[in-house]
């Protein structure tokens, strides 16, 4: 019996076509993925089901049916009965998925009180049971507290609990784990699938990550710029995609096998970190200074010229902080950082000015790392402003990153990928000896990620700078890094050549991280979700 049917659905806003003629079906209890890059219309399709489209957007044609009844023609009060009771929805941003102003209990209970006329103690009992089911420690205290007191992962699990309490027939998950790191992503998704299976609910997973499609869904719908490219089983889509766009999507997944050549020992050590410790000042009380919180504990590492060393760890493991400290942006509580053999703290003024030009940083968020008020050419020229040949060098580096004609543009006139190339151009223009790349590609779509990684490798081989590459995505590490350092809770869990560390990880944490990273390998029916 088909649970959900899309028939020629079209979505427009003030004359612009956002989704054109989308048709597909979904059986009850099935796990279906809607895959596409940003701007493909996948989220709009999901929101159209419950008619939760943004103000200026309308569904202008086609029908959406749930168990044969047309949701499109339904009146508002009737649709309100379907929302929550029949169809539940989980959202992407953990920071704003729960109402920050009211307690968890009221948010969980309000759905129940509306759809299931139950006495309040029965509602409370079910809430506690569901919170335990989603592995929340001390559910009673959780009911009394507010959303801001929980981590991103816990908040998504609470949201899952609140939706699944009503045992809907269909669960729409709109990129539920994009904002989480690999470990909590795995935890939330596995929990979602288990709960859906217990309640017999079908799951419509909206995602751009083919790894998740491979691991969790049976069939997939591929969208590009509002048009349906292909529908099929996950196995067929991932192994031999018929549509050229799908093929390009699959090919752009990082595919490396850890076979990046290591740099010979003769290459000079550009960056030498020895037993570095970093602390954040605690929050001062009325009369006593706050106790400092130690974020990085006794880290030692080396990066040689021409080498890419990956620094990996979950969010909060201190890898970004270390990246900043190495550039002198954060003071060290203990330990030493040497650049070309010179200790950062004992540099002369001239050495410091020289260090500023030869150690650069590429940021993660392309929208925040470029000054919106400056043109690209001025942004890139930052470090070589008063050099005589500044204009020539700017034009040269722009050509190298493939943005020759973009000099006079403003950041808001360019895509995410193009902006990240500007950030890289800015970093390499002064021929630095060290480049720290702090998650340079994690905010980009898969196809764009691939282009930026290739560019970085080309520039490194051309200029031979040492590069410390910070990321939480092991697939990317396998593609570009020669050596890898795994950090956990502020200290180094394990480090060594990528191939050896990934083949037999010594440290429990590394093993868990590898296990949680989805790969293209499609598990057979039996092994899926074994635990």
């Amino acid at each position: 019996m088909t649970l959900l049917r899309f028939d020629g659905v079209r979505i427009e806003t003030s004359g612009r076509m956002l989704l054109e003629d989308l048709s597909f079906e979904m059986a009850s209890g099935e796990m279906l993925a809607v895959v596409g890059e940003s701007g493909s219309g996948k989220t709009l399709a999901a929101r159209a089901i419950l008619r939760l489209l943004p103000p200026a957007v309308r569904q202008t044609a086609g029908r959406i049916e749930l168990l044969g009844r047309s949701l499109t023609q339904m009146s508002a009060p009737e649709l309100q009965k379907v929302r929550g009771a029949q169809i539940g929805m989980v959202f992407q941003e953990p920071m704003v998925s729960l109402n920050p102003a009211i307690t968890i209990e009221r948010q969980l209970a309000e759905g129940m009180r509306l759809h299931r006329q139950l006495p309040s103690d029965e509602i409370r009992r079910r809430c506690v049971a569901m919170l335990e089911r989603v592995r929340i420690r001390d559910p009673l205290r959780c009911l009394k507290s507010y959303p801001h007191e929980f981590s991103g992962g816990m908040r998504q699990r609470i949201m899952l609990a609140s939706v699944l309490l009503l045992q809907p027939k269909l669960l729409i998950a709109d990129e539920p784990t994009t904002a989480l790191d690999t470990l909590s992503q795995r935890e939330v998704l596995e929990l979602m699938v288990e709960l859906a299976r217990d309640t017999g609910a079908a799951v419509l997973l909206i995602t751009h990550d083919l790894g998740l499609v491979a691991r969790y869904t049976t069939r997939a719908v591929v969208l590009e710029k509002g048009r349906l490219m292909e529908v099929g089983t996950t196995q067929q889509i991932l192994t031999n995609p018929r549509n050229p766009y799908t093929r390009r999507l699959v090919d752009s997944l990082p595919r490396g096998y850890g076979d990046v050549a290591e740099v010979p020992d003769s290459a000079p050590v550009v960056l030498d970190v020895n037993n570095a410790c970093i602390e954040y000042p605690g929050r001062p009380g009325l009369f006593r200074p706050g106790a400092p919180k130690r974020v990085v504990q006794g880290v030692s590492l080396q990066v040689r010229a021409g080498e890419i060393v990956a620094l990996v760890g979950a969010s909060g493991s201190g890898k970004s902080t270390l990246g900043r400290a190495v550039l002198g942006l954060k003071p060290l509580a203990a330990g030493v950082v040497r650049f070309d053999g010179v200790d950062l703290t004992s540099m002369t003024a001239e050495q410091r000015r020289q260090f500023r030009r030869s150690a650069q940083l590429v940021f993660q968020d392309p929208y925040s790392s470029l000054d919106p008020r400056l043109r690209v050419q001025d942004i890139v020229a930052a470090t070589v402003r008063n050099a005589p040949d500044a204009d020539a060098r700017v034009q040269a580096v722009l050509e190298e990153v493939g943005l020759a004609s973009f000099g006079t543009r403003f950041p808001h006139q360019m895509s995410g990928g193009q902006r990240q190339r500007v950030a890289i151009a800015r970093a390499v223009i002064s021929r630095p000896r060290l480049v720290i790349a702090d998650e340079p590609v994690s905010a980009l779509d898969v196809t764009i990620q691939q282009q930026v990684l290739v560019l970085l490798q080309k520039l490194q081989s051309q200029y031979g700078f040492a590069c410390l590459f910070i990321t939480h995505d092991l697939a990317v590490v396998r593609q570009i890094a020669a050596r890898v350092i795994v950090m956990s809770a502020g200290s180094v869990a394990e480090q060594g050549p990528v191939a050896t560390v990934f083949r037999n990880p010594q440290h429990e944490y590394t093993r868990e991280l590898l296990e949680a990273t989805p790969t293209l390998h499609v598990p057979t029916e039996a092994t899926r979700v074994s635990r």
Binding site: P55, Q80, R83, E93, N99, E110
Partner: protein, 314 residues
């Protein structure tokens, strides 16, 4: 919580000291002093000097300030040079009226702002939205005393529904006093509701776009519940800060409206005191206004967490 309040109060002491020193020096800079006003145009140098000595104005400024501060700390703000009344009783008498008018008006304005702001944001770019924004913008454009004068002429003189002269206190006759305050309160409510409505609408628009509002709708909650339980608490937080700032200022006296409606409020008292160079009254009033301003802002900050628990009072 108590530690936080204590800390906040301690932090304001330097500000209050700065205010009292500023006021003390400031009013003495203004040409003309109380002795002149007392003796009028017939005064000769000798009697002027006599009055100044009598009022202690001939003593060095630091001495005058420290004696005043010494008494002020113990709650004695000195006596008015002209009426001899203790400044503290004068302030309380006049502040009562100002507080009544201002608190009623700001409460009404806030209620109007919440309903109008929420509805306008909910039905953005609809007819209601344009009407609300239009009204708020026009209200912001009209000078308050002009509005007051028009109301006074219309309801006071032409129609005679409301009394507008010879203020009668509540103790004497509640009906009479209440009737008297209708027009000033209406004038203040209209002028203050403009800016509050615009702020509430802007923050409601921002909140309506957030996921938890869509989430609430996805649970099948009716629009009214979504607006009241989910949008209002988060949207009201920034407006509350503005209400705090407005209250802090207006409680210092709405001199202009008090002049139009001949209300013996704190603003009127202060303007007359400045114009008559009644130093103790000016110093007492301005210090009192500063304290009111600080306390109101503290109260607003304390009830801020109700709408935004993330801002817990450390």
């Amino acid at each position: 919580m108590l530690g936080y309040i204590l800390k906040r109060l301690l932090l304001t002491l330097p500000t209050l000291l700065l205010v009292s020193v500023g006021v003390f020096l400031f009013i003495r800079l203004i040409p003309g002093d109380p002795a002149l006003v007392l003796l009028g145009e017939g005064a000769d140098a000798a009697s002027l000097a006599g009055v100044r000595a009598d009022l202690g104005l001939d003593r060095p400024l630091p001495v005058q300030f420290l004696t005043w501060l010494g008494h002020a700390v113990r709650g004695d703000l000195g006596r008015s040079i002209f009426s001899g009344e203790p400044v503290s009783t004068l302030i309380l008498q006049h502040f009562g009226l100002t507080a009544l008018v201002v608190l009623t008006a700001v409460t009404l304005a806030t209620l109007i702002a919440i309903t109008a702001g929420l509805v306008a944001a909910w039905r953005q770019d609809s007819a209601i939205d344009l009407a609300v924004v239009g009204a708020a913008t026009v209200v912001l454009a009209v000078p308050s005393f002009w509005l007051g004068l028009v109301l006074l002429l219309l309801f006071g003189v032409k129609l005679g529904w409301l009394p507008f002269v010879g203020y009668v206190p509540f103790s004497e006759s509640a009906v009479q006093a209440a009737l008297f305050l209708v027009m000033p309160i209406v004038t203040l409510t209209i002028t203050e509701s403009g800016v509050l409505t615009r702020m509430m609408r802007a923050s409601s628009i921002d909140v309506l776009q957030l996921d938890y509002v869509t989430h609430a709708r996805a649970k099948g909650l009716p629009e009214s519940t979504v607006l009241i339980r989910h949008v209002f608490p988060n949207a009201f937080a920034p407006t509350l800060t503005l209400v705090g700032l407005t209250l802090g200022h207006l409680l210092g006296g709405v001199a202009v409206i008090e002049t139009v409606f001949t209300l013996p409020g704190l603003g009127r008292l202060m303007v007359d005191a400045v114009l008559a160079r009644d130093y103790p009254v000016v110093q007492g009033c301005l210090l009192f206004t500063a304290v009111v301003y600080v306390v109101v802002n503290l109260l607003v900050d304390l009830c801020y967490p109700i709408f935004d628990p993330r801002v817990t009072a450390r």
